[in-house]
């Protein structure tokens, strides 16, 4: 299907591991696919309107929906490809990922403190469930063939550019890699 065909530009933008950058010709959304050993990490841009559309269906206050929509969300997929044939697990802790933006280095946004910051009036219990399960798990282990998807958030304005150091454990050993030049999708206003 034409919509499924991604125009892979195969730009090596990472320092460690292999990073492929792609642009979906149908919608212009960009993606970054990182692989090293048994792990594959994919970040796909989300339009702020996509995030608004998802969360507006549930009982989030309009302020929280806007906060979520403008927090630089990426569709994120992590997979244990089993490429090495070792059969070993890989584990990911998003709390160890570090982003570099505007000269600062810091953690990415995690769902637990985010949820704790919302009052009961701002986010109904059913909406909390959607957020909890829609965001990527903070910690997860993957055996060969396992994968998960979910949203990751970086807490910077739409249109911002940042670098990301991803880290994981493979067969008990810590590993890191870098994805540089990741672009938060601009909001619709900026595209007009």
């Amino acid at each position: 299907m034409k919509a499924m065909v991604l125009l892979l530009m195969l730009l090596p933008v990472g320092v460690l591991g292999d990073v492929k950058h792609s642009t979906n010709p149908e919608n212009g959304l960009q993606g970054w696919h990182f692989s090293d050993g048994d792990i594959e990490i994919e970040l796909v841009q989300r339009l702020p309107d996509q995030t608004r559309a998802l969360f507006m269906q549930y009982e989030f206050s309009s302020e929280v929906v806007e906060e979520l929509a403008t927090s630089c969300m990426f569709q994120t997929i992590v997979r244990n490809s089993g490429a090495s044939g070792s059969g070993q697990p890989v584990s990911v802790d998003l709390g160890e990922w570090r982003m570099q933006h505007a000269g600062n280095t810091g953690p990415i946004k995690l769902k637990e403190p985010w949820m704790a910051s919302w009052s009961g009036e701002a986010v109904a219990p059913a909406a909390r469930l959607v957020f909890r399960w829609g965001m990527f798990p903070t910690r997860q282990e993957f055996l060969p063939g396992d994968y998960n998807w979910g949203l990751t958030a970086y807490g910077i304005q739409p249109g911002s550019v940042f670098d990301l150091e991803v880290s994981w454990q493979e067969d008990g050993s810590p590993r890191t890699g870098n994805i540089t030049g990741i672009v938060c999708t601009p909001d619709v206003d900026a595209l007009q």
């Binding site: 919509a3 499924m4 991604l6 979906n24 149908e26 919608n27 959304l29 993606g31 994919e42 796909v44 989300r46 339009l47 309107d49 996509q50 608004r52 559309a53 998802l54 507006m56 269906q57 569709q75 997929i77 997979r79 490809s81 089993g82 219990p125 059913a126 469930l129 959607v130 909890r132 399960w133 829609g134 990527f136 798990p137 910690r139 997860q140 993957f142 055996l143 060969p144 063939g145 396992d146 994968y147 998960n148 998807w149 979910g150």
Partner: protein
């Protein structure tokens, strides 16, 4: 349909392209750990308890309508169900947090003939070691966890079906 909903639907379809991983593996779960019992209604009002199905392998799939890989695996689950039903295998898809109307609308595009149970409060999924959606467990006839699959699978793949059938007593 509102503009936002049209946009959302289009985005879900596009996102499926990025989630098309499909290694057909089931991870064994050793240790004879009992799967938590539950009591949930399906979309037709029938009550299902896991303990009702003791003596049969049970596939328990946790999903939502807004989860792209969950949507992607439903057609293969439906095909698998038609292959396994006659073999005495039970398949239960537990929807997390969505009501009957939402599931009904979704079923027009993704028909499923196996029971869809509604875990409106998220209590049951909280009892299971689920980290993300979809996650599927295969429960052995004695009520213990036999396998798990994190992420979507092609459920009518012969490798998977044979592992499930092999659990029959």
């Amino acid at each position: 349909m509102s503009m936002m909903k049209q946009l959302f639907s289009a985005c879900v379809v596009l996102l499926l392209a990025g989630a098309s991983y499909a290694d057909q593996t089931l991870t064994p779960m050793p240790g004879n750990i009992a799967a938590p019992d539950f009591e949930l209604q399906d979309t037709s009002g029938k009550t299902h308890r896991l303990s009702d199905y003791r003596g049969k392998p049970v596939i328990i799939n946790f999903w939502t309508t807004w989860c792209p890989p969950c949507r992607e695996e439903i057609p293969s689950m439906n095909r698998a169900w038609h292959l396994l039903e006659q073999d005495g295998v039970v398949m239960l898809a537990i929807n997390m947090g969505e009501d009957e109307d939402t599931i009904f609308m979704f079923s027009a595009d993704y028909p499923a003939d196996f029971p869809i149970l509604m875990d409106l409060s998220g209590e049951v999924i909280g009892d299971y070691p689920v980290k993300g959606l979809p996650t599927t467990y295969v429960v052995a006839p004695d009520g213990t966890f036999a396998y798990r699959a994190i992420g979507g699978r092609e459920w009518d793949d012969a490798t998977l079906l044979d592992k499930v059938r092999a659990l029959r007593e």
